[in-house]
Subunit: 177 residues, 2 copies
């Protein structure tokens, strides 16, 4: 069930500061010469926000998944439950829009959460096309636990990049939340 989450096991623990430099051992003819000694230097990629963000996102999702593995909740499931918990009665359309996921995708997510008795779909009386989404009683207590684990995950993030950096980052990206 971990599935996606683009983990890329070679998580790399190094974060050593190393002065940038020109291409190393360029055109030495021998491939595999760089097989094990790590450290290649990708220079040009260093100035690209997208690359750094992608790598960070991979790391952060991996940690989230690992931290919440015991309760078997993935980031998207967590975000869905959080939104429903904070806004009971929302339609699927509204949740999908808010989270930027497709309503087709949300169908499966809710199927899964409903099977686990965490969320319930209730036909709306006013608009019988739509479903009012609610957490079940079990879902509410479960979400409380999920949030505790998510907070632990956030502490991991703070450990990784620094407490102030995490807050600065949240501030910088607040427009996307």
């Amino acid at each position: 069930m971990v599935g996606n989450a683009q983990v890329s096991r070679a998580a790399k623990s190094r974060a050593g500061a190393r002065p940038s430099r020109g291409p190393r051992r360029s055109a030495n003819g021998s491939a595999a010469s760089n097989g094990l000694d790590d450290e290649i230097g990708l220079d040009a990629l260093a100035g690209h926000a997208g690359y750094a963000v992608r790598r960070f996102q991979i790391w952060i999702f991996q940690d989230f998944i690992r931290t919440l593995a015991a309760v078997d909740i993935r980031p998207t499931q967590y975000s869905v439950m959080t939104v429903i918990g904070a806004n009971p009665g929302l339609s699927q359309m509204a949740v999908a829009k808010r989270l930027g996921i497709e309503r087709a995708r949300l169908v499966h997510l809710l199927d899964s959460l409903e099977h686990r008795d965490l969320v319930s779909r209730i036909r709306s009386a006013t608009d019988r096309r739509s479903h009012a989404l609610h957490l079940t009683a079990r879902g509410r207590t479960a979400l409380a636990q999920f949030k505790r684990l998510a907070a632990e995950h956030e502490r991991h993030v703070a450990e990784k990049i620094g407490k102030e950096n995490r807050e600065k980052l949240l501030q910088i990206l607040s427009a996307f939340t």
Copy 2:
């Protein structure tokens, strides 16, 4: 060719600061009541780095793809060419490790780039299992153009989050580059 890139069309242009508050119209029974007026408030998600980073990553990849659409280069292809360009002669294993992608995945990426005559695989004389990767002449001039477009993309990022914020972000995430 855009394919993945998790776009989520509802790109949202709003970034209005709005004071956080408790659950809105909780349990009003009527779903769909929130269908069109946007603004739902997901509260709890606001403090989660992973969510903000994910949304930002979606935005940034989308812009990268759009900005380099004319040359039909996606972020991963760009990163592969950049690394090879900076470190000619690398093996596929080394490139995969450096970029945190699987060697199985790199096979297809290189197939595509080789078909377009941007990259060439040269059997290593010293280790005949491996391929030494090089940019072709065409690949080198192409990469130069890609880099110009990528720089334009970075300017879009700076416009979006602010010049200093972009630099701060690069600094915070430098450990992941």
